[in-house]
Structures are given as C-alpha cells and as structure tokens.
C-alpha cells in the first residue's frame, strides 16, 4: 500500500458525533427493547425438528397447541424443511419432559418428522449465566485496562477501554435492534470482539507512542494522524483477512453458528473503526503530550546495549 496521508483526526468531531448516535441508539435499544436472550439465558425448552419435505408450519402449530403447548413458537430454521420450536420457561414446572412430549405430539400428526436437536434449560441455570456473563465482560475490560496502564499509560488505558466498551455496546445494540437471538455462543463472540478490537487498538497505540518519542517536532494531532496513516495498511489487511474467514463462517457454517459469526463480523468492523476514531480521538481529547510518553532517562540508559 502506498504511503497515505489522510487527515483522520480532521474528521474526529464528525466521527465522535456518529459514535455518540450509535452508542445512544444501542443503549436505548438494549435498555428498552432488550436483548432477545436465547434459551441459554432465559431457560425453557427448544426442539429442532427436520421434515422430509417443506414443513407445514400451521399444522405443526396446531399439533403443538393440541398437546397443550399454546405458548410455543414454531418457525423455520435455516431451511424450509427444518423447524425450530421454542417453549418459554414455566415457573414451578418440571420441563425435563417437554422435548419428549413435543416429539410425541408431532410424530402423531406429522409424517417423516425427525428430531435434530432438543434443549431444556432450567431457569436458575439461565439466571446464573446472565450474571456470570456480565461479570466476565467487566472482568475482561478491567484486566485489559490494568495491563495497558502497566504497558502504556493511564491515558492510553482509558482510550482503549473506551474503544472496547464502544464496540461491545454497539454489537449488543445491533443484536437488540435486529432481535437476533443472543445465546452463550454470542456472548463468547462479544468477548472475542473485545480481544480483537484490543489487538487493533494496541497496534495503533503502540505506533502513536513510538512516534511521540521519535518525532521531534509536530503537534499531537499531526503525530496521531501520521501514526494512523502508517498503520492503516496493516489495519485494513488484518481486518480483511479476519472478515474473509468470518464471511466463510457466515455463509458456510450453518444456522447454529450464524449468530456467533454475525456478532464477530459486526465487532470486527466496529472495532477497526473504533481503534481509529475512539481510542485515538480520546487520546487527543485527553491532551496527550510528549511528556506523557517520553521514556525516563534512566530506563532509556539501561536499555542501550
């Protein structure tokens, strides 16, 4: 890639506005619409069945209602001949036989039905997972912040964590807005987004730090711009290769892995953007200076061979 000289930071106010709108929309969506939490978190039962031919959904629903599952939701899953049936958790009732009863009800009226998958999760398991998932995300952010403070400085840590939080919130927001099911696998994807976005942010921060140390003249905004341009090729290539494999997962991985791949794809795109416009902009907003980054004399002296 030829040397570029984009004035990234010139657009930082516009970008900040875009980020603010995205964040606000995401927070509102998660707060009011909420995540469409899947079985792993809510508890309840789920049965996936396959038919020899395209499934007759109305008659499937009728069969379910006939067996007492009035509140069951049946919809196509991936293909015309596959149906996913979800039964919400019922307080105080043992659901461990739900899968068997649904299969029995369907087998009586639907020829050629075969069980593909059935899951029953107790409500207490789901509650615990929700709690653990939230804690895991906070611990991940905290651990990252401490590490960056140790390796870089406090300002970089704040910038990095802001970028990560931005990516997590926007990814969750997309799931809330589009009502995609959010399960344990999607939680894993969001945590992986933290890992990926961090990777990007650190690479950019690393270059900013280096340039602050070796470029003798220039305003902070110019140094940041220069660093972003220097790392642009790498940022784009890595995002591209990661997106290549994610697209392969998205298109070929099957229905069960779709949510996971979707979350990661959004995360990678947003993460690439945020390493430029959240963490770098934040550094400027916090008025990062050369003095923040110049190595103490003593340490530099030690490391000269």
């Amino acid at each position: 890639m030829p040397a570029t000289n984009f004035n990234f930071m010139g657009a930082r106010r516009i970008a900040a506005a875009i980020s603010a709108v995205l964040l606000a929309a995401s927070v509102l969506a998660v707060a009011f619409a909420g995540l469409n939490r899947g079985l792993d978190f809510t508890g309840g039962a789920l049965v996936e069945v396959g038919f020899a031919e395209a499934a007759d959904l109305p008659s499937v629903r009728e069969a379910l209602a006939g067996a007492g599952f009035d509140n069951a939701v049946a919809q196509n899953f991936g293909a015309q001949n596959e149906v996913l049936i979800r039964v919400p958790p019922q307080a105080g009732r043992d659901q461990s036989t739900v899968g068997d009863r649904i299969m029995a009800a369907l087998a009586a009226t639907q020829p050629g039905v075969a069980l593909r998958r059935s899951e029953v999760v107790g409500p207490s398991v789901g509650e615990e997972l929700t709690e653990q998932g939230g804690i895991a995300m906070l611990v991940a952010l905290g651990a990252v912040m401490v590490y960056i403070m140790f390796r870089f400085t406090g300002k970089f840590a704040v910038g990095a964590v802001a970028a990560l939080a931005h990516d997590v919130v926007v990814t969750l927001g997309a799931f809330a807005v589009f009502r995609w099911t959010f399960n344990l696998a999607e939680l894993a994807a969001v945590l992986a987004v933290i890992g990926y976005s961090l990777n990007d942010t650190i690479v950019v921060s690393d270059r900013i730090r280096e340039n602050f140390r070796i470029v003798r003249r220039g305003k902070p905004v110019d140094i940041v711009n220069r660093s972003l341009n220097e790392t642009l090729g790498r940022t784009l290539v890595t995002s591209l290769t990661t997106l290549l494999v994610l697209v392969a997962l998205l298109l070929a991985g099957g229905e069960q892995i779709r949510g996971f791949a979707t979350a990661l794809t959004i995360g990678v795109v947003v993460g690439t953007y945020s390493s430029i416009y959240v963490s770098a902009s934040m550094l400027l907003a916090m008025r990062v200076t050369k003095e923040d980054l110049v190595l103490p004399e003593k340490e530099a002296a030690e490391e000269v061979p």
Binding site: T97, V121, Q132, Y147, A185, G253, I257
Partner: protein, 634 residues
Amino acid sequence: MADRGVVGANLFGAQQAARGPLNRYPLWRYALIAGIVALGLLYAVPNLYPPDYALQVSADNATRPVDDAFLAEAAATLDAAGVAVVGAELTGRGALLRVASNDDQLRGRAALDAALNPAGEVRGFVIALNLASTTPAWLDGIGGKPMAKGLDLSGGIHFVLEVDVDSAVGKRLEDEADNIRARLREARLRYVRAGGMVREGAIRIGFNDATDRDAALALLKEDYAAPNYVTAAAEVDGRPGAVVEVDAAQVEEIEDYAIAQNMVSLRNRVDEIGVSEPLVQRLGRDRIVVDLPGVQDASEAKRILDKFANLEFHLAAKADDRPSELEEMPYEGRTRRIQRSIIVTGDRVTNAVQGYDPQTSLPQVNITLDSIGGERMHDATAPNIGHSMAIVFVEQQPVKQADGSVVLRNDRRLISVATIQAALGYSFRITGLSAREAQELALLLRAGALAAPMRIVEERTVGASLGEENIERGMYSVVAGFALVLLFMPLYYKVFGLVADLALTLNLVILVAVMSLLGATLTLPGIAGIVLTVGMAVDANVLIFSRIREELNRLPPQRAIQAGYDRAFLTILDANVTTLFVALILLSIGTGPVAGFAVTLAIGIVTSMFTAIMGSRAVVNLIYGRRRVAALAI
C-alpha cells in the same frame, strides 16, 4: 537474542544488527523449529485416521462369557442381518465389532439386541455404540490420538444435574441433633422440645434457665469444638439457648462428599445405558455434567439416571417367626430365609470401607451408620446375639419388553449373611470374608443410596444427522476461510505472502497437534475458534511485513528485514497477551461451547506467536539470509 527488540533500543536497532551476520539463524535454532514442526505433524496425523463406527458388547447380567466363540457368533448375527462387519476383536471391556456406517451401527445394535437379550428377562448384555480408534499402533504408542468430538458434532445427550447439597448438610444436622438430645438426656439436662432443633442451617436448643444452658454448653463444647463446629450461647425463642453451627470448611466437606458420592452412583448408572465414552464431571458447587455421546433416546437415558439402588439390613429368620413374616432368597447356592422387617436402609450408611482386622490381619468391612441407624441397629441386635443378620441389595434392573423398550424392575439380592457376635452400634464390622469379597461388599454398600437428591436442570440432545451436518459445515467453512486467506496473502505480499501462508499452515497443524495432545474436545464453536485464529494469526505477519515495507524506505533490504521483525515484536506481544487474557476469562466462566471456543483461541494465540515470528523468520532467513539482496519481493 537477535529477534528481540526493546522499544528503548529501537533507535539503536540498526547499529545492533550491524554487528552480527544479518538474518541468519544459528543451526540449533533451525533444528529447534524443525523439531517442533516435526512433533506438530506427528501428533496432528492421528486426526487423519477417522475412527470406525463400532458396537461394543459387554456382559451385564449375562450367564455366558464374552469370548472368541461369542465374538464369532455376534459377527455371524450381524452378517445375517445384512450388516457388514469390518473387524472384530476382544478388548478389556468386551467384544468390539467394527461396522461401516452409523446406519449399520444402529441396525447392528437392533439385531444384536434381538439375538442376545430375550424379551421379558433382565438384560444380559449391554450393546453400546462406539467409535473404535484406527490410529496406527506406533502412533498410539507415543500417545498420538485424534481429537474427541463434542456432543454437537457427534450427536448425543448432555445433562446437567443439580445436587441438593443443602439437604446433605441438613441431614447431617438432624443426625447431630439426635446425638445432642441423647447426650442431654444422659446428663439429665432439660431442654425445650417444641419447634425442632434444626432451624436456619444450625442446631438451636432452648433451655428453661441459664444454669441448665451453661451446663449444656460446657457439655456440647466437648463434642462440638472448633475447627469443625462453632458452638456458642445465644437466645433461642426468647429463652437462654445454645447454637451449634457447622463450620464453613466442614460444610464444604459435606457437600464435596455428597457430590463425589452421587457421581459414583451416576457413573454406575451411566454404564448401564451402554455408552462407550461417557463424561461425568462436577460443575461448580453443586452441579454434575453427564455427557452421553451417541445416545439418542433421551427418555430412556433419563429413566436410567433416575434409577436407584439401596440396601436393607434384615435379621435372618428365627425359629418362632411366622412364614408370612419371612422372605426366601438364594445365597451362595442355598435358600436363606430372612425377616421381612427392615432394621435400617442404606441411606443410614455413612461409610463402608474394606479393612483388615488389626489382630488377625483378616479382611473385613467396616461399616459406619448415622446416629439413628446406630440406635436402631443396637435395639435390633442386642436381643439377638448369636443370630444372623442379612444384607439385601436392591437394584433396579433394565428389563427388555417384547416391543424392544426397556423398563426397570426392582431386583433384590442377598449379598451378605453374618452372625451377630455382639450388640452392634453405629460402627461395626463384617468379618469372615475373602479380601475380594470384602472389597465388593464395601463397594456395594457405598453404591447404595444417593448422598443427596438431585434433579435434571439442563438437557440437550443433538441428533446424529445434525452432528454430521455440523462437522461438514464446520470443516467446509474452515477450508474456505483458510483458502481465501492463503490466496490473498501472496497477492498482497508476494514472496513474503507465501512465507506467511507457510507459517499459517504450520500454525494450523501445531494447533491441531496441541489440541489432540491435551485431549481437548472439538466442538462447533471450537471450529469457529480455529477459523478465527486463522484470520487473526495472520495479523502478526501482517504487522511484520508492513513494518519491513516501511523500513525499506530508509534501510537496505537485509536491515529492513531485521528492523521489521525487531520492531513488530513488542507490538505483537502486547496485542497477543491482552487477547490471551480475554481467552482465559472466557475459559473461566464458560463450560461447553464457550470453553471449547476459548481453549482453541488461547492455544491458537500461543502457537501463532511461534509460527508467525520464529517460523516465518526462519524461512525468510533461509531465502534471503546468505546472499546479497537488491530488492525484496514484498
């Protein structure tokens, strides 16, 4: 350490590099890399030998042995049913018959079941679906084995059971409360009887006055002292009282014991279902995971998991017993008559171990009962010294029906008859056994009741067809994603792109090798983790190559390579260490799918550091190291 750069030294990097030969690795380093690559290949290879579908037949309540004749007959049965037998052998766990497909496996099982287990009788043979290893013996000999497939890939049932550990603690408290009542009665200390002693997780005893309370407290402190108990004065229902609490560490011990005991019972039951590689594992404080790969019938599996076993202690028949009060049972070839009334049942047994008589060194079984059990045992045996006591093992046995389904039937079997030599209490022993008999009896006594009740809180079934589809799709997406990246890199980085491709391929091989060696289970999210690792592992090489390109603007090629690797190193390290944090956090919260993903990600980060930095450098050095280079193909 030529490939290690420190930020502070970067300004001097060029000088530093100029002193030694540029871009040459010492021989030992090439040897080390070659060695690791060879090991990686070696341990990844077993994954190229997919296991055979197989049926494993083992004797359960069978009268005939599983031997060569049996093996030949079973193979003939399969042949007659149109199921081609690929291989047949005897293993430590019974007969192993290899067949060609999953479909053959299911038909074969039905055919063998029909031939071996007559309807209406206790099932004689367990016929388990199995995957038989085809790893060559020499690979097997050095510990090479393919990755196991998770339930989402192999099909099967996953249960999570919650153990009511509080009830185990509660039972313990009730037992101790009984002991305390006895002690207080002995010491003639009057306590308030109303309302029960065990309340809010502690034993609470009220007294009429403080004097009684203080006397009782002194007494209780002898028996219920630290560190296992906390005994203190307190007000109980507005009266002077004493509170005995079980210490937290002791509570944990009781819980651990209950879980361990339930896991033993679960394993015994799982063996009944006919699963070749079941997983029974503790999960967190009070849960147990049971994975049954290959099993498709959830309701049958649940019935067997719910199946219980128990023990009953009876007195043997006495001369003046009426026949209606007696039961006849075979024991060691004779019919024995025992009283129908039960002295105590197995849930009163707190421990049973095989030991040796300190005087005679003869084997024996030491049995410990709880306090109520001890009292009842004493009351029943004191007037009957010289008579016999019988122990009956009650077990639910699977009985095959005419339609092929399985129901459970209670089977009672006499496992011990011994002469009562003295009035027995809460601790006694059974002697006159051989070492083997003593061991078996102790095992049966322990395998009895569950230490605490449990229930299924999570259940997931994956059909075999979905499992196969998941593998197919997963593998396809790995291959497609991998191929896209392999194509892209040389387009963008030319020769260096090819080097990155090589490093990436090695990374995949070593990742698979490490996962196989660690015995990690391959799941669908695990495959996603591999795909993601492939995408992200390129990053290290991209960082290095971009840096080399930049350095080429001011440095000659050889030095640019040197500087590119040096300066990218710390960035790569920082980026990877933080990602590793995230993977480890994922691992700590996750079970099942999340853990599968996290393990792959964590291993992938480490292996990619090796291949992308050391591996690619070695290749670059081999290409450019010992010659004059005018321009780099980058």
